[in-house]
Symmetry: C2
Subunit: 426 residues, 2 copies
């Protein structure tokens, strides 16, 4: 029943019951964690055979010895395979180290401090630099901007992607805006997939904004669907080619949630001209990436079909965990008007919006009985959720039994906080 239709008496009765349940959780000495988008160990086991797969065959297709120095932008065979994940050509692809975050940081740091087309094009030379951040979003994106002193402007997310009317109006009005962060498929944390229209409009931003505007297209969950019929994402580079805005698009991906988190490969796709300038700076920072690990990955997958078959196995392991979270929300909160949530078909998160002003309280209630949730505000620039309502749920890592227990606690905490608020207001 909706909290808005219940009588005060009903609510008081519910509250008493919820407090009893909550006290029981307290007595149970729980230690549960639903904070991090980490693969679980069964997922990691899927790639165990990578170590040793080379069998002392360290020579690449081009005849290079991948154990030695040489090659700043990765192996040709790795480019060929992972360019398909990015949706660009192998010539538009760079294979990096173990972290796409590093490639993103470097992209922004080089553009901001050293320029995208030589020193005169450094963003910082124009004074204040701003970035658009669809919210809720990914905290690591926001911390890169903060580190570099780039001002963040939150823009609203819809179920189609960022609110493009708002985005276009902002970009038109303020030339200090140099880019936008996007997680376009199974967005972090809402799980939505950008619509074709939104992708098309984002590809046109490079025409509206200045020449050095950049779309940071973090396609972290490009192939991370929970089933094969999940919505596809339109190819942004194809759209950019139609509008002549290829330089504005930089696509990122990694195998962190495909093989090993932290011991996989990161890659980026952008115009060949962008890559040329990027590599000029990258060559000052490193001699080159770990090519042995690149060869390992190529050998492990074989080809793109092999990679997709591998992703099916991840989906098999993840889907029951997502289903469990959703089932608890459905059973416990559907029709209650105490919050809303997304039903993602891929990615690593479920986004829950409680009643405004309650996110911190719900998270604190859960913490007090041993259930760790992502800190309130983490999905907003500077950690500030203006309505204090977004909570990110990450079901991938814990065992199914732990997820069930965690969600039991979560639902009780949401109800407790919501009913207390309602009773206070009356």
């Amino acid at each position: 029943m909706s909290i808005d239709q219940a009588s005060a008496q009903d609510l008081q009765a519910q509250l008493a019951d919820l407090e009893k349940q909550y006290n029981a959780f307290e007595a149970a000495n729980l230690s549960l964690d639903l904070t991090r988008g980490k693969p679980n160990s069964a997922q990691l086991d899927l790639s165990n055979s990578m170590d040793g797969i080379l069998n002392s065959a360290y020579v690449t297709r081009a005849g290079e010895d991948c154990r030695n120095y040489g090659g700043l932008d990765g192996l040709a065979e790795a480019k060929e395979l992972f360019s398909k994940v990015l949706g660009v050509s192998p010539q538009e692809t760079l294979i990096g180290g173990n972290a796409s975050l590093t490639l993103m940081f470097q992209t922004l740091a080089f553009a901001h401090l050293f320029g995208v087309r030589g020193a005169d094009s450094a963003w910082i030379k124009e004074g204040v630099v701003k970035f658009l951040c669809p919210v809720p979003g990914y905290d690591r994106h926001f911390s890169v901007c903060e580190e570099l002193g780039i001002e963040m402007i939150p823009v609203a997310m819809t179920d189609q992607g960022p609110d493009m009317d708002q985005v276009e109006a902002l970009v038109k009005a303020d030339s200090a805006i140099k880019g936008i962060w996007c997680v376009p498929r199974f967005s972090n944390p809402t799980g939505i997939v950008y619509s074709d229209d939104v992708v098309d409009r984002i590809a046109q931003l490079g025409k509206i904004a200045g020449a050095h505007f950049r779309v940071m297209w973090d396609n972290a969950y490009a192939v991370h669907a929970l089933h094969r019929e999940a919505p596809e994402l339109a190819n942004i580079m194809d759209a950019a080619r139609r509008y002549g805005t290829e330089d504005s698009v930089i696509i990122f991906g990694s195998t962190s949630k495909i093989t090993f988190a932290g011991a996989g490969l990161a890659f980026m796709g952008t115009s060949e001209e962008n890559l040329k300038y990027f590599k000029k700076h990258l060559g000052m920072v490193t001699i080159g990436p770990d090519k042995v690990n690149q060869l390992r990955h190529v050998k492990f997958f074989g080809d793109f079909d092999g990679l997709m078959t591998h992703m099916d196995k991840h989906a098999e392991l993840l889907k029951p965990r997502f289903d469990a979270v959703l089932q608890h929300l459905e059973d416990g909160l559907k029709g209650s008007d105490m919050g809303g949530w997304t039903v993602p078909e891929g990615g690593y998160f479920i986004s829950f919006d409680c009643l405004p002003g309650l996110a911190k309280e719900i998270i604190a209630l859960a913490a007090a009985v041993g259930v760790k949730l992502t800190p309130a505000g983490a999905t907003f620039p500077y950690g500030l959720d203006p309505e204090d309502k977004n909570i990110r749920l990450a079901p991938s890592f814990p065992a199914l039994s732990d997820i069930n227990k965690t969600m039991e606690v979560f639902v009780v905490c949401v109800k407790l906080a919501s009913i207390r608020l309602k009773l206070q207001a009356e």
Copy 2:
């Protein structure tokens, strides 16, 4: 016979003979390369068993799953092992990715742009920033400074290390000098080992210079001796502890020339306080290093003794190559007064000083008959060797027969250029 004692007639006769030899090289269509300090494939083979060594045992001593996220500064067991290479405590150690160059770049970039102790301590806030560069030195160090806009001041190298009278006088006179680059054992390219007195004086620079002065101690060849009796390097961190200058010392190393070049581990050692600030910034750039590769390395070596035994095998493969280069110089140029060279007991290079003004010419002569040498000037800031005389020879990579042929050509080119110069002057 010395070129200075030979008659013009003698020189003319020698010249004719040399030109005949040179023309024969030209006709032979050589393709030889002595440019890069790369391990040869027999050296790389020594570590082949690393791939597969984990045998699906991915759990660390602390019980962490090294296939998953977590841990910004590396595994405890890797810190324990490689802190011994650095000569610091495990608490003073950070294990990074595959490139010490990246750790060096990040150290300077963070200090320069973001500060070593918060934003107010950013070097760039003080205006012009300068760095001392002992020459000849390592070009990658110089390009990091150039990228960041840090002015480089060359200082002379002696056979004991940098000329410390000069270094101390410069640091006293100019507070814009924020650091010095050092390759203290088997220096690149001269191969000398810094004397105990030089190490001690460098450890005191932190007292003379400001609080944010940094010694970039790139101990790239820490365990890379050609034999076990090679001169040891004094421990700079021990010295720094005596003077209370631990914050001024940052030590770098890697396994690029121990296991696989580009697929090894990089590490740094510095005060715990420095590490704390460094990690604050590093956490914006990466989630963490490749811990699977760290575990692989630890398992491969076992302990520091195991690592040193492994280095003996490298020495066995490298020593004949160094000997070949030195033998050709000895046989062809000893007593000729056409150049001098170092006789390193470790590292990857032999440094040759020809007559002033001839380095470019000798390198061009060799190139014209298919023998690639490191570009003239590469060992100096901005690529400018003021006397145009230093040539870096890198014997590690080519087969012994190629080294012999290369050195034959090299000696002839040195003689040709030197005698032509002498005859011109007369």
